[in-house]
């Protein structure tokens, strides 16, 4: 007998565990989702296979293993919706492409509005999405209830649900499966995935990066692609590059396995919680970042308590669900809440970071674009707007939206 919580088995073989070679054409620093996807697309799209992915811990053990797996592309600005929508389209064919059961489930994403300004911002974003070719709709409170019957839409709560934006093509996937799918393909294509290999230095000669120093020896390389999320600033500082990044803990948590109650993904910025029910039945939940900076993969407890209050406001039936595990990742936030993907002042050194709390959904899209950037020494049109220079030119892509509330 096979129960309904069974998830597909992983393949018999995932990857080799090679020793690092003395040199590679490209070294990708960071074996998370983005690094692995970049390596895969370097091989697949550009025929570059003499590549090493260096991971200081275990593959995909950073934010890739710690996120809440939400996938959507309904961002406000043209630049954002273009790259996230590119990513979403790749998600839609990824299971087949990777030959791996990544459990991509397009169960829709609701972003709730709780104030009149939320409503204005939501309607604005829906209209922008539609004109950008991204599926989006505005639903009122009754519509929210129809999509997700367990949401409390009573007007008699502290911040009633006034409606929501809904992206039907959004959803969730299984993060480990995604990472391992990329890793397995990359390995098959001859890319060396090297774990327990921390980068301790970058060799730059004449303004050009030529090698990396690691805990497993020095490696000569033609190009270095940084994809180290929360630790990007640490790596960049090795070559004197200061990044406009602040690293914060971001916590998430999970309940026991429960019979299906929650058919979609619900996010609320105002009441500050997001939740979905994963394939096996556990509730997966997150909230805002911890406000202090740090590299420790742990957060403060009051964030969890607050998040639970918010969750029970929206979903009273969760009251006696149980918290089984909490954890935190280290997210790399930028001043405009948009990523940094592109060239650096150092030749042959490329940067992908600053995805903050939203990097998982971008995994295939940014892997695709970053590989292009590295292969051609030129940004892909989708990541061109996300250059590091924008913090000096002022061409920001500010996805914070209206942070303030009206008079």
């Amino acid at each position: 007998m096979t129960g309904s919580t069974a998830v597909p088995q992983h393949p018999e073989f995932l990857w080799r565990n090679p020793e690092p070679k003395p040199s590679y054409d490209v070294v990708v620093v960071g074996g998370g989702g983005h690094g692995l996807a970049t390596a895969y697309y370097l091989a697949k799209n550009h025929g570059i296979t003499n590549v090493a992915v260096l991971e200081k811990g275990w593959l995909a053990g950073g934010n890739m293993a710690r996120n809440t797996t939400i996938i959507r592309s309904n961002y406000l600005w043209d630049e954002s919706s273009a790259i996230y929508e590119h990513s979403l389209k790749l998600w839609e064919g990824l299971e087949e492409d990777l030959g791996y059961p990544i459990l991509f489930s397009q169960r829709g994403v609701l972003n709730l509005a709780h104030s009149l300004q939320d409503v204005r911002d939501s309607v604005r974003r829906v209209n922008a999405n539609r004109l950008n070719g991204v599926d989006a709709e505005w639903v009122d409170a009754a519509g929210v209830k129809e999509i997700c019957p367990i949401v409390n839409i009573s007007p008699d709560v502290r911040y009633p649900v006034l409606g929501a934006t809904y992206q039907p093509r959004g959803g969730i996937a299984k993060h480990d499966y995604v990472a391992w799918g990329f890793a397995r393909r990359a390995d098959e294509l001859g890319i060396d995935l090297i774990q327990n290999c921390a980068v301790t230095g970058l060799d730059v000669i004449g303004g050009k990066v030529v090698g990396v120093r690691t805990t497993r020896g020095d490696i000569a390389t033609g190009k270095v692609a940084l994809a180290a999320a929360g630790h990007s600033s640490v790596l960049a500082s090795m070559v004197g590059l200061r990044l406009p990044i602040q690293s914060h803990p971001l916590q998430a948590l999970v309940s026991e396995l429960l019979e299906p109650v929650h058919p979609t993904v619900v996010m609320s910025n105002a009441v500050h919680v997001y939740v979905s029910q994963a394939h096996k039945g556990e509730l997966v939940m997150g909230a805002g970042i911890d406000s202090f900076n740090g590299y420790g993969q742990r957060g403060a407890f009051h964030i969890i308590e607050r998040q639970m209050s918010a969750a029970l406001e929206l979903f009273p039936i969760f009251a006696r669900a149980h918290l089984l595990r909490t954890w935190a990742g280290v997210v790399d936030t930028t001043p405009d809440a948009s990523p940094i993907v592109g060239l650096t002042p150092i030749e042959n050194l490329y940067l992908n970071c600053g995805w903050g709390t939203g990097g998982f959904k971008a995994t295939p899209g940014v892997g695709w674009c970053f590989a292009h950037t590295v292969a051609h020494d030129k940004p892909h049109p989708y990541n061109a707007p996300f250059a590091l220079e924008r913090f000096t030119s002022g061409a920001l892509v500010d996805e914070h939206g209206a942070a303030a509330v009206a008079h």
Binding site: T2, L59, L131, N132, R298, R320, H322, H400, A403
Partner: protein, 955 residues
Amino acid sequence: MTRLTTGGLIDRTTVLSFSFDGRPYAGHPGDTLASALLANGVHRVATSVNRGRPRGIMAAGVEEASALVQLEAPFPEPMLSATTIELYEGLVARGLPGRGKLADRPDPARYDAIHAHCDVLVVGAGPAGLMAALTAARAGSRVVLVDEQPMVGGSLLGTRGELSDWTATVLAELTSTPEVLVLSRTTAFGYYDDGFVLALQKRTDHLGAAAPDNAARQRIWRLRAKQVILATGAHERPVVFADNDRPGVMLAQAGRTYLNRYGVLAGNRILVFTTNDSAYVAAVELAEAGAEVTVVDPRTDLAPFWAAECARVGIAVRPGHMVTGTTGEERVTGVHLAAYPSGGASATVHCDLLLVSGGWNPTVHLFSQARGKLEYDAELGAFLPVAGLPGAGVVGVRVTGAAAGTVSLAGCLAGGAAEAVAALRDLGVAAQPVAPPPVGTDRVERAGLVLWTVPVEISLDGSDLSDTRFVDLQRDATVGDVLRAAGAGLRSVEHVKRYTTIGTAHDQGKTSGLIASGIMADALGVDMAALGTTTYRPPYASVSFAALAGRDRGAIFDPVRVTAIHSWHIEHGAQFEDVGQWKRPLCYPRRTAFGGLEDLPAAVARETRAARTGVAMLDASTLGKINVQGVDAGEFLDRIYTNIISTLKPGFVRYAVMCGMDGMILDDGTVMRVSDTEFVLTTTTGNAAKVLDWLEEFAQTEWPDLRVHLTSVTEQWATIPVVGPLSRQVIAAVAPALDVSNEAFGFMTWRSAEIAGIEARICRISFSGELAYEVNVPSWYGIAVWQAVFDAGQPYGITPYGTETMHVLRAEKGYPIIGQDTDGTVTPQDLGMSWVVSKKKLDFVGKRSFSRAENLRPDRKHLVGLLPVDRSVLLAEGAQVIADPDVSQLPVVMLGHVTSSYRSVALGGTFGLALVRSGRDRIGERLFAWQDGEVVPVMVTGPVLYDEEGARRDG
């Protein structure tokens, strides 16, 4: 009947009725659901999640990996271990097939949280914890002792009453010591930084339906300790063999606990499979209780003491043997034995209970959460704390007793006292360890054989679903799964966990995690020490969401802030809007001639008309107000705002804008100069806290040399704008001593005056374009002054108005609302307010950004007005502005969006404000607003649509 007639810590004089899987049973106070089921001969409790196999009770505590149940009454609760549910009258439960079920109705219970501070926190009230707590208590320290069980004693509770007199005496002393708090039924589940420990107290769960409504069901204790002593004990771990998941397969110490604590003999023909000496106690005691017991031990060098004991009570011992499998369906009926390690000479032995012991895992969860380092002890086959985290001046974290790997009872007693002395020493308190009670000779003196799984062909060939050697019972994950993970190329325990799902279930791998690592290490031929453990994370045991949410739910999820005048608004039928935490009147609908209530447009039409043609009044008390004092206050504000503030004279008011470092507008408001060294700023309602934080950050970290102090006075002042061409008459009436003439009291000045006997600050400022007086009084008098103004205004038809009317009035004048007409990407120049940006000041926050390339682009988005070609059509706020109405080709170029949109009495139709690319250059152009597929033609205008020359502000 498996319940013995005597013995145990249950009250046989009281019978508790309960139901499980639809059948009625009886138990006693002191029982857990698990012990009561066993007492009734029920071994099968649950069904496995993926493979549908019968599952029973394997433990007697929180480490239970198998006996998962759903509570149905008195209120549904998903997935609890039967071993952690205290029995109560009327309990209704059922076994779970792997997934719990949420209630379909709201939880009526209360939950709360409480803070407690102490010198020494002791976690665990076993022998080590009691000694530690007693030592600290006698030293006069403030002590908190928490324990998950309803009574103290820890592992002693599973013995034949060992030291029970002593534990009772200790408990009595602790509870009578004023500075000591003993919390039972309280599980410490999380260690956070600096001695912050979270614990869950189950206060009424054991009472069932008899729980009082007015008591919190569960309570989160937020414990802040200077020193923490972890006496958290150890969990026994099993050995893996085929069909090790059958009901009736149990940990040895659990079998002993059911006997001694609950008076339950869980089997009559018992086979004890152990790799160490600790299970012999259980074997002997069970035999003495009447069971027929056989011991199977892979070791051949039996301890002489235990060999003699077994002989004494008639236990057959099979040294050099192992269990390779079991038979049975709903309950184990027999065991396959074979010689260890060869596997030869196999035989089958009948039994109805199989007790297993593979050694002990110290409970290091909290220590590990505290960032304590663990080291593999090859002899014990377990990870042990590497000393504690002692520290003078910082929080010390110490581990003692079985949690530290101490095996003997005497050692645990002595260790607990010693760690307390050390902790007290770090607190600067000299203390003596209390004398331990006398104990007998400990007969568990040597480490056992470390055996994760009985030998099978260790190959990396993978497995199939016929593999029944379960490592994680809850996840149906087997030895084969672990080997398959190794074969797939995985070398990290974290990867193996994710590949196999071992350790991810309700018990978080308390008994399975280490075994998976051990099998992995053996398969790969690597050292366990190098493999390490997966990360221990809070919570140690599951905690309900509701307990974590506590009281911050419903109406008090977030504080409701109301103004001093709120009751008046309610009495006068206001409709409210949430603005940040504030409740603000949106409008004041009146009864219509037909007896109904005005709708929002009708109310707003009436209110705006009053403000434009007569007089109206608003409660603007929610505006953020910050008092800025100090000799450098002017300089400070010059650096914060884009315009010059220091030149403002006392008695004057200035509109001002502050930007972020990116040059984008952060907030706006007015600055009133009270004296040379005192200003009062206003902020937008929703931004008040953020602005104060912003100012404090600069005051404290960037310019600490400036002598300036910031105080929030939002709630100290009630603010009442009196607006409209007749406002002068109303103010003259309520403030007869004030010369309200334009000459004496000009625009952008303020005066002190008495209104209704109250000293008020009255400002000539206007957010509507009309003649207006903003009355500020201490909020204590807010409602009295509001009423006085309202009364004085009656002859003029004074009309209270809400936020929607305020919005219409300001939008007609093109005044932006920060956060509605801006979104963090808008500069003062974009709003057409270059005049508010000083060109003289050397520097201010955001100035540098104004010279960036992007800021100098001629085609930035500008704030403009939009007039629909059909002035009866209301634009949607959030509509996108496009140049070409043909949107068949996606993506469409968007020029901007509608930020504000209203119907206007004064303008005779609808209008909007919008941010539009090159907007000021498009004035007079026809564009289109796109909203949900609808295209509305609009004309672009300047943002000021009413009284552009500003003739009305002086009345």
